[in-house]
Amino acid sequence: MNSQSYSPQQVLRAVQAQRELLNEQWKRLAEVERLHNIEREKIIAERDEAALDLSKAMLPALDASSIARAAQLCGLVGLPAEDLPGRREARRAFLVSRLRTISVEPLYRDRELLRHPRTGSIPQAIAENSEHRRPLAEVVGKCESHARFARLMEVGFGIDDQSVPWWRFSYWSDRSAASEIVATFPAKENFSEVREDYVRAKEAVAIFDAEIHKLRATIAAGEALDREYVALYNEHQHIDEWALQQARVRIVRHMLEADASLMTQRLSRHKDETLLFLRASGLSAKLTYLDAIHKKNADELRTELNAQKAKIDGVYQRGVAKGRGMPADKFQIFAVNRGPKYEKRWQRWGKTYQTVQSYDHWDRGRFYEDLLWWDLMTRGRHDGSYIREVTVFHQSHPHYEYDPTPPRHHHHPAATQDDERDVQSDRDAAARSAEVDGAGGDNDDHNAGDSPDTGGDLTATDAS
């Protein structure tokens, strides 16, 4: 090895340091996964609560006028024609009728007499049949447990002793087997008698089995009736509540799947419903965005960590295991501390994630004719092109540009002093960001690589 090389021991120390750094990153990634799962559970609960509040405001009751109002508000035009109250009453009538029918079915009505596990006539009949079956099954079992019994039956041993001639070895083996089997039936003198008993017992066991199977099927049918009755009774008890809930779910699902800005426009004259919708819509979007941010960054980091591991393993194989050491130029590249690079990635990821996570000014959505939650949450300063929903929005709104101070706000009939303050706060925040950007302190997705990190940390306990 020349003076320009590093020894295997030096390479080993560098490999160990790099592996340690990788392990730290894997641990941090696992912790981020855990925290993301906690966060998404929290958002799901908030979103469901918001959707419930919205659904209650949209459809307070399942009557024709409430349905018509909700349909008109959210644009679910076919809903009134479905006659949900009428269908609910038809279902109620069916439930009443079916419950009456079941209640007079003997198998249900007389369930205690018929099916009580200890005193019911059917379980007792099963017990009796089983009792009669037992000695017959013993005969069958005893015979069939002998390895040669099936062959003896097949060759007709005991019916025609000459079917296998005496100079065949199997003739004698058959005789021995038959003797052994007969010996297990003290009352029998020869195999013919055993065979007759076996055939009779086998037939009787089959008859008992069929009967027991039929009785058990009757019990099962009765139990199915029990279950049906309980389920239908429960439905009957809650039919008003459940029918209303089903209709609400349909309405809210339709609203959340529709274009948020169009839905906001439809609701514009109804401030309460608008605000409830924006909250539910925004929370749904937040969940989608956080999942996408997490997935993108976690996938990229995993790929990078795996690639780095492969590199380290390669260096170990060549430089340590084979004792070759490493040339100085390569060693210096390999041994460089990648900690800051990973830290920068964590900061960038954390900043985007926390920007979306902390957003809760849902009411601002009503100032936008083209509402893209991503831009509201990030003030248009983060690239969201890796999020399908964001891309779809841009495709369907080709002329869209994010405006941090939307003109619609100035003329919005429902704008209040609070709204004015919110928008002013947005403007101030945008101005502050611009100042920071100008000073080179920003690290959004477009220019994160050339500025120091000041963003969030997904796992750090000390605030960045």
Partner: protein, 115 residues
């Protein structure tokens, strides 16, 4: 037990019963040519393992076996036939061999041949 062990046991039992056994005897009578594992040419008594392994099934094809067994039915000769599918235990071999020999003696006695 293996076929070799069974053959050895059969040889001992037949010999013990007074037969002079020739092993691997070429039997050639009335157009039937087969190799018997054990055969007493004088008493016309023997034993044979019918196993695919040694090509016996080629000799003991269905026709040969039928004609061989027809001669046994007539009492011309007596050969204990053991199929390779028969499970061989020492006890089974003993029981089958003694039963076979006792049956041979009964037939000889019926036909007036002294043993």
């Amino acid at each position: 037990m293996t076929e070799a062990e069974a053959r050895s046991r059969l040889l001992a039992l037949f010999t013990e019963a007074g037969f002079s056994m020739v092993e691997d005897f070429r039997f050639d009578e009335e157009g039937v040519v087969v190799d018997l594992d054990g055969w007493d040419p004088t008493m016309r008594v023997g034993y044979e393992f019918i196993s695919r392994e040694f090509g016996d099934q080629l000799q003991f094809d269905a026709q040969t076996l039928a004609s061989f067994e027809a001669r046994m039915s007539r009492g011309d000769l007596h050969v204990l036939l053991i199929d390779e599918r028969d499970v061989l235990t020492a006890q089974d071999v003993d029981v089958a061999c003694r039963g076979f020999l006792s049956e041979c003696a009964a037939h000889r006695s019926k036909s007036g041949i002294a043993r």
